[in-house]
């Protein structure tokens, strides 16, 4: 993974509480991608990080008026673009 240029991928787990971004792409072929989709994470959606759990993991995010929590491990599958 190159750090410079277009190859640089920003993923949801890198965001801090209060940050906002748009979902760009889901990078998982199996159950994880499926589950994220079913829970309403899809490209183009605006997403906002609410907080991290007391022990840092998992994180809570708001999407479109409702809230989900997910581990940072899983958030790595959500590619995002800052606005």
């Amino acid at each position: 993974m190159a750090i410079f240029g277009k190859d640089w991928k920003m993923t949801l787990d890198q965001l801090k509480p209060g940050d906002e971004a748009y979902v760009e792409k889901l990078c998982s072929r199996d159950r994880l991608g499926r589950r994220l989709m079913d829970m309403g994470v899809y490209p183009g959606l605006r997403i906002r990080v609410i907080r991290n759990a007391p022990l840092e993991d998992p994180m809570e995010v708001e999407l479109d008026g409702y809230y989900i929590s997910l581990r940072h491990e899983e958030a790595r599958a959500v590619e995002i673009a800052c606005k």
């Binding site: 072929r29 199996d30 989709m37």
Partner: protein
């Protein structure tokens, strides 16, 4: 007979108010069962509509209808195979867009869908207004706005249901346009139609095509099972999917989901206004505290403490009031059973009482369970559960468990005093199979209420000078063992089990309704009683046989008969010179014994005052002469009374000796003795073995059996003293080894059954019993033989073991568990 013409299904996403609607429709006429082969609950209810019985099936709450989870599969199979007249799609009106994601899937399955826009009042409060007419027009299905807490829209919903049921056809509903994928879908459709013509008759063709494009393994298997050349077909589908992905740079399943959301977004936008669907602000405010870095854990501990306090402590107090009811049932049964002889106890009588005692021991927990289940229902309905999982997940996931293992662990007795049965039952909610099985397998190792009496007994005998420390040790050691053990299980036995991603909704808080909470509590207690009690009853029979037969030999029986005659004749001798010499017939000595104990029991039950007088009167009338003896009247009365007391003592002693010998000569006693060569390395002799074996049925039995084994004739001596005096060779190291054995000891029967139900197989139940048995014996042997070889005292060994367990826990926490899903 019940006539069933109309069958309707309730489908919807979690937290959409589906159960409230189900309860509002069916009232108390409900029935809970399991879907065959899976641990998913099936709730069925009925209501009278249009003069006929309408059956309502509450499908599990799912976000989608794929074949990834048993819940989704069950819901999907119901809609496709059971041919419901109507499917009510319950949705949270505030979350229209996301809920439509499921609606599209239902429509694609050509289910006759009615949309219930539930919790409409809540949405309106947030300033969302929805044009139901327009929504209905856009979707091509009926839409009803409802709020089941107030009954709004219920009549309209019922009318719509019966209208749709009468037409008994598909609702129509629009088909979704999948854009670039359409040519692919058409291609698949025509192939399916040509190559497997029998399928489209049973399943909607369009749905089959979409699912095949989605790569749904169940549907691929379904088509392949009837296809003339299944390998070619499967390969072709894979090629089509790969082709689509390379042409449009998007996985087909993600494209499909995307299209659904885009369409949902378009429809939601056009009939919702003004629609800033924000969560209630007070829900946010609560979360600021409940999920706070510092306050969150504090609140969590407080909630757990309250749960303990109300259910275990207060529930136990309630049993003080319910126990007399059970005791009364026992005494009724006792009257019905054949009477006892002086030393001859009829098998029927012994069995009858044993059976009632076994069942009563379990029923005695009902108040505790009722409170516990009600509190859990409150936690579930309020929305606190996901927060609990949110806070604890990091800690538990390190050990292969899951955030949602918190509640089962609390119920099982994370500190001291829980019960594995509700603990294991609560594992149902854990979505990740690997973690769920790990949790189910380790819960029985926690300190359940029934293990505590043995700990207290042993601590009082062997660690009397360090009671507080020993209690601390035993309360915390189980968690230090459970965490590394579950980690080891997930790294070995459970390694191949699938895990699920932790992606969980955090719904807004709700105020639970009294009715909802009580219904659930009653339902679960009933389920517990039905499932567990029947099995415990069956096993009580087996254990009874094991503990009683072959029993006392004829020679020994003759010996006891002789002892009996000695006792009786010495009694007769004692009263020879009194006025009562003729009042008692030595051949019918039981008449007197029964009168004697009858009087004592009646007086005990009557208390004092008038009631006592009435008892006296009754017994005087029955037999004035015997009455004088039992009330010690005059000098002769006193002599006879003393003689009777000594007769009673002799009888008790004889019965006790016989019982002891009976256990010694029983199958169980034999097992205890033949295990001695192995268990002596753990410091257990045959008596301890028998006590531990009897605890297989129920943990409380261990102390009760020890009580029977160490019975002595000196009255009022505590079991602690009796055990200490009988087992002179025992040291604190013996005590420690026995305590640790008890911690790791296999689940009791009820818990084993719960494991079977929740893990979904006898195999897991046997594994659960087997691995803990081996582990328990291994640890006990290591501690006892190791401690002895190295010359540690019991107290030293205790803390060395603690240190080792703590180290293991820390080390195991550092080993990483890899999730089995990939990120590209």
């Amino acid at each position: 007979m019940r006539q069933q013409k109309t069958k309707i299904g309730l489908a919807g996403q979690p937290n959409s108010g589906k159960s409230t609607l189900f309860n509002a429709l069916t009232g108390a006429r409900q029935h809970v069962a399991n879907y065959p082969g899976v641990t998913v609950e099936k709730k069925i209810g009925w209501y009278a509509g249009n003069g006929e019985n309408v059956e309502v099936v509450d499908l599990p709450g799912t976000y989608s209808l794929t074949s990834y989870s048993p819940e989704e599969q069950v819901a999907r199979d119901f809609i496709l195979r059971e041919d419901p007249s109507v499917v009510i799609n319950v949705m949270d009106a505030s979350n229209l867009k996301r809920c439509l994601f499921l609606t599209f899937q239902l429509m694609e399955m050509q289910a006759p869908v009615v949309l219930a826009l539930n919790m409409i009042d809540l949405a309106e409060k947030r300033g969302i207004s929805i044009d139901t007419q327009k929504l209905s027009g856009l979707l091509g299905i009926s839409v009803v706005a409802t709020n089941m807490k107030t009954g709004r829209g219920k009549k309209e919903l019922l009318d719509t249901i019966s209208a749709l049921a009468d037409t008994s056809g598909s609702s129509g509903g629009i088909g979704l346009d999948y854009g670039e994928m359409e040519p692919f879908l058409r291609d698949i459709e025509s192939r399916v139609l040509a190559e497997t013509p029998q399928l489209p008759a049973a399943y909607p063709l369009r749905w089959l095509a979409v699912k095949l494009m989605e790569g749904d393994s169940e549907v691929i298997r379904l088509v392949a099972s009837v296809h003339p050349s299944p390998e070619d077909f499967t390969a072709d589908i894979e090629r089509l999917r790969a082709d689509f992905e390379s042409r449009f740079d998007e996985m087909p399943e993600i494209h499909i989901a995307n299209r659904r959301y885009q369409e949902a977004d378009r429809i939601a936008r056009s009939c919702m206004s003004p629609g800033q669907a924000r969560r209630l602000s007070w829900s946010d405010r609560i979360d600021k505290v409940v999920c706070h870095r510092l306050m969150g854990p504090v609140v969590l501990v407080a909630v757990i403490w309250l749960l303990y306090y109300l259910s275990i402590v207060q529930g136990y107090n309630v049993t003080n009031y319910t126990w007399p009811i059970l005791a009364k049932i026992r005494s009724w049964v006792e009257v019905l059973l054949p009477g006892a002889g002086f030393i001859e106890i009829p098998v029927m009588r012994a069995f009858g009482l044993w059976f009632v005692d076994s069942i009563n021991a379990l029923l005695n927990y009902i108040p505790i369970f009722f409170i516990l289940f009600a509190l859990i229902a409150i936690l579930e309905d309020s929305g606190y559960m996901p927060r609990m999982a949110f806070i604890m997940d990091r800690l538990f996931s390190r050990y292969g468990l899951h955030g949602q293992s918190t509640l089962p662990m609390v119920l099982g007795g994370i500190y001291v005093g829980g019960c594995a049965v509700p603990g294991v039952m609560a594992c149902k909610a854990i979505p990740d199979e690997r973690s769920r099985l790990a949790t189910i397998l380790v819960i029985p190792l926690l300190n359940c209420l029934a293990k505590v009496p043995l700990y207290v007994l042993l601590i009082n005998i062997y660690f009397a000078s360090h009671k507080a420390w020993a209690m601390f040790f035993i309360s915390t050691i189980s968690l230090l063992l459970v965490l590394p053990i579950s980690k080891i299980l997930t790294l070995t036995v459970l390694k191949k089990r699938p895990t699920s991603p932790f992606v969980m909704e955090m719904p807004p808080y709700h105020v639970p309704t009294v009715r909802g909470v009580l219904t659930r509590a009653v339902e679960r207690v009933w389920l517990f009683v039905r499932k567990i009690t029947t099995i415990v009853a069956a096993v009580a029979v087996v254990v009874f046989i094991l503990m009683r037969f072959p029993g006392i030999s004829e020679e020994r029986m003759a010996h006891y008969q002789e002892e009996k005659h000695k006792a009786v004749s010495s009694f007769i001798q004692d009263i020879e010179d009194t006025d009562y010499a003729d009042a008692i017939d030595p051949d019918n000595i039981m008449d007197f014994v029964r009168y004697w104990s009858g009087y004592k029991n009646a007086r005990l039950g009557a208390g004092g005052g008038d009631a006592a007088k009435a008892v006296n009167e009754r017994f005087r009338e029955k037999d004035p002469e015997l009455y004088e003896i039992v009330t010690r009247q005059g000098k002769d009365g006193m002599i006879a009374y003393r003689a009777a007391r000594s007769l009673e003592r002799s009888r008790k002693q004889l019965l006790m000796d016989m019982k002891n010998e009976q256990i010694h000569n029983s199958f169980l006693g034999w097992a205890g003795k033949s295990l001695e060569p192995v268990t002596r390395y753990a410091g257990f002799n045959w008596r301890v073995n028998v006590a531990l074996l009897s605890a297989l049925a129920a943990k409380e039995s261990s102390v009760a059996t020890l009580g029977a084994l160490y019975e002595s004739d000196e009255r009022g001596e505590s079991l602690e003293k009796r055990m200490a005096s009988k087992e002179t060779g025992f040291t604190p190291l013996h005590g420690l080894s026995l305590m640790l054995f008890m911690v790791l000891y296999p689940p009791c029967l009820a818990a084993a059954i719960a494991v079977k139900i929740q893990a979904g197989g006898t195999r897991w139940m046997l594994f659960s019993i087997g691995y803990s048995m081996v582990l328990a014996l291994g640890v006990a042997v290591a501690v006892f033989s190791g401690g002895r070889a190295l010359g540690f005292s019991g107290f030293q060994a205790m803390w060395i073991f603690y240190g080792l367990a703590l180290t293991l826990t820390v080390v195991m926490g550092l080993v990483r568990n890899r999730p089995d899903f990939d990120v590209i």
